[in-house]
Point group: C2
Chain length 194, copies 2
């Protein structure tokens, strides 16, 4: 039992108390429910791998998006993690393809450009189809550093390089925005056509 609690406690966001609660819950569950969970865990490790094109998670050689012929080949949205792909797909704003870097440049954590999939991105650009790279790394320190690096890396290739807008979250109140965000919203103000 303590082994299970320890293992559960290693999961992100699961503290010792939650781990204990989950363990006791599983103990009282039907054996078949527990079997379904262990099956799902085994399957995930056995089946899920990374797309050979974009490095998103995939259940076959290519991910669902790269395998979809309706997706636009001319634009690539560069993100840090597979979960960012999920977030952007939910917006239904983007019909191109992705490239998952596998993280952000972070000297403190010892993550440099060589630990990410920059080279694989270069290989994808060789075909010359891509006209726009949208950099959608996180709007924090590491994400901005990665965006700058990427922009320099891709410079002179004749590809339009854009970055997601920083600014005020939609639906909120201006007075609740933090100073840096409000400052960026000012900086990035856009012309309004009436």
């Amino acid at each position: 039992m303590q082994d299970l609690i320890d293992e559960l406690g290693r999961l992100p966001g699961v503290g010792p108390k939650s781990a204990q609660r989950i363990a006791f819950h599983l103990l009282q569950s039907d054996a078949v429910d527990v079997q379904r969970l262990t099956d799902a865990l085994t399957q995930v490790k056995a089946k899920v791998r990374f797309c050979v094109i974009c490095h998103n998670i995939a259940e076959s050689e290519q991910c669902r998006i790269c395998a979809d012929p309706r997706r636009d080949l001319t634009s690539i949205c560069v993100v840090e993690e597979p979960k960012d792909v999920v977030a952007i797909e939910r917006t239904r704003e983007f019909r191109g393809r992705y490239h998952v870097l596998g993280g952000a440049i972070s000297p403190i954590d010892g993550i440099g450009p060589d630990d990410l999939t920059f080279r694989e991105l270069m290989t994808r650009l060789a075909s010359g189809e891509v006209t726009e790279i949208i950099i959608a790394t996180d709007p924090n320190l590491e994400g901005e550093a990665t965006a700058s690096y990427l922009a320099r890396f891709l410079k002179g290739m004749g590809i339009k390089i854009t970055r997601l807008a920083s600014g005020l979250p939609v639906g909120g109140d201006l007075e609740y925005a933090d100073e840096v965000t409000l400052g960026r919203a000012f900086e990035g103000r856009r012309l309004l056509d009436a």
Copy 2:
């Protein structure tokens, strides 16, 4: 006592329980402390009025910002409320002047353009000094409606009309952004110079 609790309970964000707590706190405070509070309340009503130029709160005819000769006369930032001026001043991004509308257009609340200081804004523009109007109404439904109205209202005057950027709050994680905000961040993406 019940009168005081009722009065306190009318303040925004003060529920019946908080009102009671404050009332009892005041009851136990020194008379001089309570006097300072009542003085401050009386002074605020007696002294604070609205700037004749921008309709921000002011302690004399003009507010601190309109009275400051170092502020740029060529750009006006239009906001809904005086508290938005405070928020923008904190960013130190803006050196122009403000115009406080006194709210946003909201048909549900019966607030139309005539209830706001649009006409006063027009009067300010007559001198021809202003080259940019930055619309900083809230990034919600009413704020957007007010921004559109204002843009149409000011059209054809040869003034550059801009709107604060909507997008990802700085410092956050892309995956935590709501869909609408992330969609706007995509829409408003900007060219990155390496």
